[in-house]
Amino acid sequence: MDINLNERYSHRVQGMKKSVIRELLKLTAKPEIISFAGGLPSPKSFPVDELKIVIDEVMENEPEVALQYSATEGDQVLVEQLIKYGNKAGNDITEENLLVTTSSQQGLDLVSKVFIDPGAKVIVELPSYVGGLGAFNSYQADMIGVPQDADGMSAEILREKLEELDKHGEKPKFIYIVPDFQNPAGMTMTEERREEILEIAYEYKVLIVEDSPYRELRFEGEDVPTIYSMDDKGYVILLGTFSKIFAPGFRIGWIYANPEIRNKLVVAKQSTDLCSPAFSQRIIGRFMEKGYLEKNIEKIIEMYGKKKDLIIKYFNKYMPQEASWTEPEGGLFLLVSIPEHLDTSELFEIAIENNVAFVIGEAFHHDGSGKHTMRINFSYATEEQLHKGIKRLGKSLKEFIQANKKE
């Protein structure tokens, strides 16, 4: 008889759901569909020519390092470059603060592994990055949502929630924030709000996990410092990644944390995958050394900035007045809201008939709220697709609103 395992899986697995996005993406794979659903960088953002040069050099000069296991902490060349990079951006870090990861998703997994016991409380934004929610859920965290306002996570509501927990003698493990050009909302937390949140974190002695994969991609407006750089008490853990500024296929990212936390993360990583691929690490290290990364970031900013302007233009032109949307100053995403009584999962079906796709907002809310919102990615589509796709989306939305009026 074949093995029967359903009762054998760990509790954490029994509580895990299949990703909504993954399921939806399957529907959007048809070639005639223009998809704003994925979170993919534009392939035009990949620095193919420079990469060829660097790969040839690494394979010529140092293949025995690039093809061997690396230290768990990270490849020496990449570590040096990351320290320079971090400091240049205003984050005061040394080797003691740094861990190279197999991308930010691993960063989220490791942070969860090190902090979350079953039932531990974690504060998340409403909405929040779906992969963050997935990672916390896989360690059986109990999530508490705090909504955003125009300046970012609401400090007032955060305080209320912490106060309430405190009354029961409870302390969340950390506050999870995507402060820059958030996935999914595209919003950026203001400097004042960052200060406020950090003060609250100090007051209630709660760590902050600052997940910032889009930070480098600012098209307009003033730079805001990282929460990590504002923190002088070791409360903030910052997650960074090369996925959006270099290439996601390499799966390389980094963590900054205070040395005590960082050392725990190193040990957790050791048992998770021993080390990140030395090959990818060494190549990115040399790529940075040659100054290619900065150039590539400039190129991407210009490319995505233009796409953002276009998509806003087409929104203004094609979307019905019932819709509103965020206007991000950087990143890859924006969030569209429709009237509260409407559900974007119903709109999704009409949109697919009209050959256009997005991600329903519900996926980004740990509590299943946000049904009247949807996430739009503008980095992947070509300029022509942006035009056609938003036209189709506007048409779908008008049909949907019309249909709901009649009832």
Binding site: F46, L51, I55, L67, Y69, Y139, G249, S271
Partner: protein, 395 residues
């Protein structure tokens, strides 16, 4: 700041710590567990990589599916079929090394307090991966044919919290031992009677020095109970961090969900590199090369051990893989012996970290794959001098 309770269990690996000590060029090291970099197919990888970036860069640099690159999964399934496993690409998920296969397996099966059965000793990286999920370890003694089945049976009969059995049937890390075919069949029978999944870690399976490869547990299994962990680290190179899990489909889908939140997917360029290599080059011929080099080193090391080691130390005779295991007289502690050995500029790994309870001290592991061939005899001779001295001091 309060860490999760699992963090108490997590200790930095001795092995990683050791590397810092033994990096000095004058040290003859038998410590590391890494493959010989001289055998990496550098030229081929260089050619392949240029080709992929040129022809298929958009895909090689983009996000990809969690389960992995289909052409590679097909090729792996085909290789597994040639080894007698009913496999298809849908039974395979690509992992970031076999280490991730261990991590995900623990995450999939273990609640706090569940028991996992393993060989004694066993791979330290597996112990650490499992420890993150706070299980109870039940260690089963091994003899030259593998795990002792009567001991295993007794445990299976009397315990009801056992979630999985973890074994490395070929050229085990750390002992170099390989299970007899008979034992493998017995294990499959027991897993069937007690309906317990087996995690088969095959990191060294293909590095065999004899004429014939023994059948994997996976190929003997008919009930879908074996979860097979594969790795390209020892047959290709570790720097790409590539492994896979072959398992029945209904279990595979849970691995996919778990991997998604762990690292989304494995480096796609690396997947395409290996896929292209398998397409364009003779992988088996490459493995044969590794085999003949390691076999040669094994012979050198065994001969030196026979020549120099005190007779009160016993050792294994591996028929594959990268390691030899030494058992010293009871009262000796591998860590203390290492301190002495380092003074003579020779290094190994004390055996303690290969036991979940760290109770057994009088053992150590020698690696021959990464040792410089010309220094093997010299290193073993030095080590023998140290051994004789410490034994004389203690007894």
């Amino acid at each position: 700041m309060k860490f999760a309770s699992r963090v108490k269990e997590l200790k930095p690996s001795d092995i990683q710590e050791m590397f810092k000590v033994i990096a000095k060029p004058e040290v003859i090291s038998f410590a590391s567990g890494v493959p010989d970099p001289d055998l990496f197919p550098v030229k081929e990888i260089d050619e392949i990589t240029s080709k992929i970036i040129r022809q298929n860069g958009d895909m090689a640099l983009q996000y990809n599916t969690t389960e992995g690159y289909v052409p590679l999964r097909k090729k792996i399934a085909l290789r597994m079929k040639q080894n007698g496993v009913e496999s298809s690409s849908e039974n395979i998920i690509i992992t970031s090394g076999a280490q991730q296969g261990l991590e995900l397996s623990a995450k999939l099966f273990l609640n706090k307090g569940d028991a996992v059965i393993c060989e004694s000793p066993t791979y330290s990286g597996a112990i650490n991966a499992f420890k993150s999920y706070s299980p109870e370890f039940i260690q089963i003694t091994t003899d030259k044919n593998g795990m002792k089945m009567d001991e295993l049976k007794k445990v299976l009969e009397t315990r009801n919290n056992i979630k999985m059995i973890y074994v490395i049937t070929d050229f085990q890390n750390p002992t170099g031992k390989s299970w007899s075919v008979e034992r493998r069949k017995e294990l499959i029978e027991l897993s069937k009677s007690y309906d317990i999944p087996i995690i088969e870690d095959s990191a060294y399976e293909e590095i065999y020095f004899t004429d014939n490869k023994k059948p994997t547990l996976k190929s003997l299994d008919t009930g879908g109970r074996v979860i097979y962990l594969g790795s390209f680290s020892k047959t290709f190179c570790p720097g790409l961090r590539m492994g896979w899990i072959e398992v029945k489909k209904s279990i595979l889908k849970n691995y996919i969900t778990l991997k998604q939140s762990s690292d989304m997917h494995t480096n796609i360029l690396a997947q395409m590199q290996i896929d292209k290599y398998l397409e364009l080059y003779d992988f088996d011929a490459h493995i044969d090369n590794i085999i003949s080099s390691y076999k040669n080193k094994r012979d050198k090391m065994i001969n030196a051990i026979k020549k120099y080691f005190p007779s009160s130390c016993s050792h294994t005779y591996p028929e594959g893989g990268m390691f030899i295991w030494v058992v010293m007289p009871d009262k000796l502690d591998g860590r203390k012996v290492l301190d002495e050995a380092l003074k003579e500029n020779v290094a190994f790994i004390p055996g303690e970290s290969f036991y979940p309870d760290r109770e057994t001290k009088n053992t150590f592991r020698l690696n021959f794959s990464n040792a410089e061939e010309s220094k093997i005899e010299k290193g073993i001779e030095k080590l023998a001098v140290v051994l004789k001295r410490v034994i004389d001091n203690v007894y």
